[in-house]
Symmetry: C2
Subunit: 203 residues, 2 copies
DNA sequence: TTTGAAATTGAACCCGGTACGCTTTATGCT
DNA sequence: AGCATAAAGCGTACCGGGTTCAATTTCAAA
């Protein structure tokens, strides 16, 4: 394997492109920057850029992909799928203060500032929904599993939106993380027990 | 108002475009047809086509837009939001055998055959999620309402997918409608009572 | 019948993304 | 070391969705 000089250069190029992209998007807004400009700023041809990133959206979103399906399939024995996901997101919320706030924040701002990127995020969540449904299925075509997968991803999307919104409004990372943790519990309680008690019966 | 000759011509043109589009898409597939071809087939300039339909997707999807928010805001007094939505979709399922199966089916086939259109459908559902959340909000920033809106739209998306899938597999409209009605009840029961009983506790 | 606004058009243009054929460069083999 | 090969990069031309703009036609109202 030899540590691969070639491999190293590839990763380096990929990072140069991604960094140039994020910098330009942060400066002038996603929709105001063309992929040609990104390529030029990264010192690379447009064709090369698209060899590393399938679409313009991927320049921002590729490094943010989650996968909930894995959390379910690799959960410790004795834990329910919902329990595993709840634990995971609770842990994420509590670790929030540890991550690099600077880079996270600019990425969030870029995403929140562009309808196209927000749509991309939603599409990514849709993709996760199918994977999660497959992971939850107990028998082929299990309707309950599909409904559960759909509801979980919808809930996570909502929580992520709230989290992003607070960050872009200037909330400190620690506080946003704390509130996220609380909301994770609220949301999963609702998933487990339903809305009848907290909503459906009123009015 | 004079019945407006102008207005009539406009609607007529719009219909000519939409029909030409659906016909071509059904014949050769959405991605294999260019908007130029649609415009030509409709006897109209590309620029005119885009005066009527904002995007290529809209050629197929504009006539399918629902709005759940209205169902909630205009529900009869004494009925909960969840109750109103359940009743609406149950009614839709039972009326299914009444609609024009031919045209519905080709549209469904066109949509199901194109990833781009499926993505468009999902985006439309996202849009409805925000409207529904606004309709459900009891106070500004009501988290429960947002979660509920997210889960409802996710559920409806799933049920719609199941319905479409059965239709494209050749199920008769009446049967697909019947199963949809059953699934609507299952799904809304889960929304109201949660997954703990039917899923979360096992394994 | 004139006048003005709305509908329609062709043509040029922008941008994301692809196809193709060519050069360069790391690497594995001898 | 030297060489063949495959991978990485590049330039250019192209495609299709979508917009801009100035020019023209068409309805309708006064």
């Amino acid at each position: 394997m030899m540590a691969g000089l070639r491999e190293r250069k590839k990763e380096q190029t990929r990072r140069r492109i991604a960094e140039a992209a994020l910098r330009l998007f942060a400066e002038r807004g996603y929709d105001e920057v063309t992929v040609n400009e990104v390529a030029e700023a990264a010192g690379v041809a447009k064709v090369t850029l698209f060899a590393y990133f399938a679409t313009k959206e991927c320049l921002v979103l590729d490094e943010v992909k989650e996968d909930m399906a894995r959390i379910v399939t690799e959960r410790p024995p004795g834990l329910s799928p919902l329990g595993a996901l709840r634990a995971h997101y609770r842990a994420f919320a509590r670790e929030a203060p540890g991550v690099d706030a600077e880079s996270l924040l600019t990425r969030v701002r870029v995403i929140s500032g562009s309808p196209a990127l927000l749509a991309g995020v939603h599409q990514a969540h849709i993709g996760q929904r199918y994977e999660l449904a497959a992971a939850l299925e107990r028998e082929p075509g299990d309707l309950i599993a599909r409904l559960l997968a759909a509801q979980i991803t919808a809930v996570i999307t909502t929580l992520q939106e709230q989290f992003f919104h607070r960050l872009t409004c200037g909330a400190p990372l620690a506080e946003a993380g704390q509130r996220l943790a609380d909301e994770v519990d609220i949301a999963f309680d609702l998933l487990e027990r339903g809305f009848a008690a907290s909503y459906g019966d009123k009015s």
